[in-house]
Amino acid sequence: MSENKKSCTFELVKGIIKENPVLVTLLGMCPTLAVTTMASNGIGMGLATTFVLVCSNLVISLLKNVIPKAVRLPCFIVVIASFVTLIEFLLKGYIPALYDSLGLFLSLITVNCIILGRAEAFASKNNPWKSILDGLGNGIGFTLALFLMGSVREILGSGQWFGIDLHLPVTMTVFIMPAGGFFALGVIIAVVNKLAKKAPPQELGCAGCPNAASCPTYTKKDEGGND
């Protein structure tokens, strides 16, 4: 029993730090770069993605014996897209300001490779309870990474944090522009991996991507990590 409990905690915690989807496995880069001009947007995007991730992991895990293997990707995508539509409605109704600032990227949660990656690599092989924990862990990890990016860019770029003016002597507007997004992410990945005393990732993390098998840049070496 305690063994079982331990593995559940592991499923939850691994996505937060050790296998952080953004900073360690480098998945979901598009929203990470696009919506993090403000810390609050980062958290909003992170929570919306967490919601979709947990729900789709649960449903896919429940349906894993029903979905034929050959058409599993379209099935996963439909499940994910339905939850994305749901969260779009919820945000539009209850938090319209966030809905407006996330814009197109809310719909694009559908093609976030973290969600499809977790569905393919984890939820389609594990029981519902573990899949929820896995989704929750990865979602929290994603939210934390987005919050970090958003804070750095908002503080350096506009001298504010959650809209509160920090009265900084210098602000660098470039950080809230696209170029600053790439720069901030590059530096954060380097620093995080330095702190973790690891070599920075040399390749894009393709292990979680459902298309990895047919990808020209993917090598088979990482296979089997999640089974």
Binding site: L26, M29, C30, P31, L33, A34, L73, P74, I77, V78, A81, S82, V84, T85, E88, F89, L104, S107, L108, T110, V111, N112, C113, L116, V174, M177, P178, A179, G180, G181, F182, F183, L185, G186, V187, I189, A190, V191, N193, K194, A199, P200, P201, Q202, E203, L204, C206, C209, P210, N211, S214, C215, P216, T217
Partner: protein, 192 residues
């Protein structure tokens, strides 16, 4: 009414999908290592973007709007794109084997490329008509190709350079992308 040329150029340069809208970052970082694969991926994405627009636009205006099902567009579009990519792959394999050889490996990757879904939704959100939508999709695809091709050149230099140990690999690549993105900022405000 914006003219076609303005739509084409602004989708390509001013609102470059990769460097200023952050769509399709995964292939941008993953497939830009070699010039040849950058061109192949760019061509495949451009082709799928234009065709996906050609398919999704009528479905939205002729089926979803009359039935008042506009909110289903995310679900409908991603399914159409997934189906379409599958069909294109089978068609190319049978009918045009040389083209399949060059583009084939990239096609399955495109289904989950957010740039393709992004451009089809963007066309609807900006109220473009069919012609404008296709021009916008072509511009976006060409801009994607341009960014990939430019970056494949930059990247070879970055890989050869002596970067600090903690920045080697992806961090250095991202910082190089930031500098390329600065150069595209020069286009902003060109058509306003």
């Amino acid at each position: 009414m914006k003219s076609m040329l303005v739509i084409l150029l602004s989708a390509m340069l001013v609102d470059n999908f990769v460097l200023s809208k952050f769509m399709g970052i995964c292939p941008f970082l993953g497939v830009s290592k070699k010039f040849d694969s950058a061109v192949g991926m760019g061509a495949a994405v451009t082709f799928v973007m234009a065709c996906a627009t050609l398919v999704t636009y009528p479905i939205y205006t002729l089926i979803l709007v009359p039935l008042e099902l506009e909110y289903l567009k995310t679900v409908a579009f991603i399914l159409i794109i997934a189906l379409f990519v599958q069909i294109v792959e089978m068609f190319l394999k049978k009918a045009v084997p040389p083209l399949y050889k060059t583009l084939g490996v990239f096609l399955p990757l495109i289904t989950t490329n957010c740039a393709v879904l992004g451009v089809t939704i963007l066309n609807i959100d900006s109220n473009y008509n069919l012609g404008q939508s296709i021009v916008n999709a072509l511009g976006a695809g060409l801009g994607f190709t341009l960014a990939l091709v430019i970056f494949s050149g930059v990247r070879q230099r970055v890989n050869a350079a002596d970067t600090p140990e903690m920045f080697k690999g992806v961090p250095a690549t991202l910082i190089a992308a930031s500098i390329v993105s600065v150069s595209f900022m020069g286009f902003s405000g060109m058509f306003s």
